[in-house]
Amino acid sequence: MAIAGLAAVPQQSHRPHGWRRWLFATNHKDIGSLYLWFAFCMFLVGGVLALCIRAELFRPGLQFFQPELFNQLTTLHGLIMVFGAIMPAFTGLANWMLPLMIGAPDMAFARMNNWSFWLLPPAMALLLLSFVVPGGAAAAGWTLYAPLSVQLGMGMDLTIFAIHILGVSSIMGAINIVVTIINLRAPGMGMMKMPMFAWASLITAYLIIAVMPVLAGAVTMVLTDRHFGTHFFNAAGGGDPILYQHVFWFFGHPEVYIMALPAFGIVSQVIPTFARKPLFGYTSMVYATSSIGVLSFMVWAHHMFVTGMPATAQLFFMYATMLIAVPTGVKVFNWIATMWEGSMSFETPMLFAIGFILLFTIGGLSGVTLSVAAVDVQLHGSYYVVAHFHYVLVAGALFSLFSAVYYWFPKMTGRMYVERLGQLHFWWSLLWFNVTFFPMHFLGLAGMPRRIPDYALQFTQFNQIASVGAFMFGLGQLIFLVNILYSLRHGKTAAQQPWEGGNTLEWRLPTPAPYHSFSEAPQLDVAENGVVVAMQGGKHG
């Protein structure tokens, strides 16, 4: 019902109905909606796992979960949020919005698109199912470090299989994005003119194609170590446990940017719209995003500063990591320069975008602190790291996703969301996010390791604050759900251009976007960041 509502588009004859519309979906808007709803469901599932973790950590001692189950909760929370929530949500947005923003009729490979989405539910089902197999779900953390992951029960095998499927899904989704952007731009939409969201999606897609096979390789080696007598990670057989970490983080660090670059893209669309001013430094934004993409392949071992690498390796990875701060800083400065001397208004998408800049900056700066190898010796594996990456992923990826959904909701559905509820959702999330995660910096500095089900007494106060914050933050996401469900049916009818400053191509379409848009490509005259100066032709339906 809700899915049908989100894609409530004018009736057209050549469109499948009922369940066939979704199972056999080839329309990028339908597939985008599927992705977004799926990601939101997984966000709720992963969130419930997080609340289980915070409930256990509310007090010292073991209250609700035995340690082995606790480890399963942290592992699955990470895997579900990364592969089930954030990545599909960005792919869903790219599916929905890219063709509209660059003037393409659909994604390049419509049937493959269907397959990329429909691989996700079985993969996630395998992950969730693993809770009930003998030995329970994977319990080695989302990083699945060998040799611990070699020891675990069959839940680990299900996890490996799920990761293989997820990898295939992401790679197909990424190929589709690359081909769509390279081949299907409308005449006049030059590469150096297209929206930053398209640039960010393009670079992200390349990163996915490059590193998902690496992850598949890492977990396959675990699989053969587990069952087929190989010794990739067993020193007794000539292997090396640290090899796993090198391979994993060669995937893992670009993965961080797979979850961050699309966020940069979204914010680069939202800020100019609500500042009523073009994006500052478009060209340098493109180069900064590309150089972040390239640098992301050269910093993986900063996750391994305490494995005992030689000094030269420590230093190389420290310098390379510090260097990433420069292009990232350029982006933040560019966004602020875009706001500077603008004529800003603060609707919900803008609030989430500003919240993103503020909190992502905190996450970035704690990242600089972590990059200094000598200091990382104290912080590695502690709650400081937990604080750091939640500032990057929750305040970064998630806030940008909320910003995007509020921003494009009118175009997708033809209705406005309830602004007051949106504002409440933002302020509520901002407050409780910080109550949850800021104290974790203190916990980590004071010496609390991450991934422990029970802790020493001096960590009690901040853990209690964090647990209260987490439950309130979780509760606040229901505001979002209520807002969306209500607005799908009863929201005010949206104008073609609901945002005064919105001047990229998608705002030239009728609202809601027709089921088949740009079936005939328009002739465009485009300024930087996809700003449409003039448009001719372009048929829909």
């Binding site: 611990l148 000094a311 706001m339 208004s345 190898a373």
Partner: protein
């Protein structure tokens, strides 16, 4: 040294009291450094906090100014500039310069952490699921260090002690003012040896040796924890370092050497069942309880029950084999032959065969274990 480790018994008692008081207040910064490395890390972190904090405040201030002044509701009209190469170059160069300033002391610190030469004492640290072993390589003795917090305190049926989860039966004892070199490895999975006040965190990797060093400034008790997820009881394998003045350390060392000589078991001794069971129960408590549980029922699905188990109630040779060499089927069952003495293995097997609902009445003598070991070797 089998009693719970009580800090009052050391020369560091006065220092301990002050630590205890500090522990009552929620700390928001790194723990007080007790080595030159920890001080280096502390100062570097303070510097970074100032620099990054300053940058954040600057960004926040500019953004807030724009939010307040450049808003539509304040009647501000947008100026449509969108490029300025000079500004872009400036805000690329300045962060680079700041990073260079950070990189200099950061490089010095890394090189310092890595210079493990010139040691006066070498200790080998081995991580086990879920305990630590310390071997004093110069003196040829060593011991296991287990969590000392009782299970009842974790379950909440008795009050939690002051150093809940940060107390062990046998701490690592080191002299102050001497450069101690650590050699770290692990028996099963990767662990990480972290003592914040000593400024050390180093992974212990099975099959590989890594090194680290520290020189403690002042006598005291320094507590830490394993910081690499290593399975079920990752949160329950603390580290306690007892740093003593060189004289106190020498006293302790002499006593330890004597004790080591005296307690070496005679592997040819013939034991009675009662004596073996008593010793076996202790060995079981230190090594087997995390998986097989105090009631011998294990954890269904993960760790098999010993109570009523066909292996435990069956042929002695099969039971000895699995304890000595581990399980092929389930890698979580380690090869205990590498960590426990013949007597300890004989004791724990005898205990298991005559505990809970198992009533084989059989006992296993240390000599049988030795025979099984040599049999396996040949």
């Amino acid at each position: 040294m089998s009693c719970r480790y009580m800090p009052g018994s050391t020369a560091a008692s006065s220092l301990f009291v002050s630590t205890a008081i500090e522990a009552q207040v929620a700390a928001i910064n790194l723990q007080a450094p007790a080595t030159s490395l920890a001080r280096l890390e502390y100062d570097l972190h303070s510097m970074l906090l100032l620099v990054t904090g300053g940058i954040f405040l600057l960004v926040l201030a500019v953004m807030l100014y724009a939010i307040v002044r450049h808003r539509k509701s304040a009647g501000h009209a947008a100026k449509l500039f969108h490029e300025n190469t000079t500004v872009e170059i400036i805000w690329t160069i300045i962060p680079l310069l700041i990073l260079l300033l950070i990189a200099w002391p950061a490089t010095q610190a890394v090189l310092n952490q890595k210079s493990t030469r010139g040691e006066e004492l070498t200790i080998k640290i081995t991580g086990y699921q879920w305990k630590w072993r310390y071997d004093y390589l110069d003196d040829n003795f060593g011991f296991m260090s287990h969590l000392a917090t009782p299970a009842a305190a974790i379950a909440g049926t008795v009050a939690k002690p002051l150093n809940y989860l940060l107390e062990v039966d046998e701490p690592l004892v080191v002299p102050t003012g001497r450069k101690v070199r650590l050699l770290l490895t692990a028996n099963d999975v990767i662990h990480s040896w972290w003592v914040p006040q000593l400024g050390i965190k180093q992974d212990a990797i099975p099959g590989f040796l890594r090194d680290a060093w520290f020189m403690v400034d002042r006598p005291g008790i320094y507590r830490g924890q394993c910081s690499e997820l290593c399975g079920k009881d990752h949160g329950f394998m603390p580290i306690v370092v007892d740093a003593r003045s060189p004289e106190d350390y020498e006293h302790w060392r002499a006593a330890r050497l004597k004790q080591a000589a005296a307690s070496a078991d005679d592997p040819t001794r013939v034991w009675t069942l009662a004596a073996l069971r008593e010793r076996g129960e202790k060995v079981y408590g230190q090594n087997c309880i995390p998986c097989h549980q105090a009631n011998g029922r294990g954890i269904p699905g993960s760790f098999p029950a010993l109570d009523g188990s066909p292996v435990v109630n069956g042929d002695k040779a099969g039971h000895i084999n699995i304890v000595l060499n581990g399980s092929q089927k389930n890698p979580a069952m380690q090869a205990w032959g590498k960590q426990l003495s013949d007597t300890d293995i004989a004791a724990v097997i005898s205990y298991e065969r005559n505990a809970w609902g198992n009533h084989t009445g059989q006992l296993v003598q240390p000599a049988e274990i030795r025979a099984a070991r040599t049999g396996a070797a040949s």
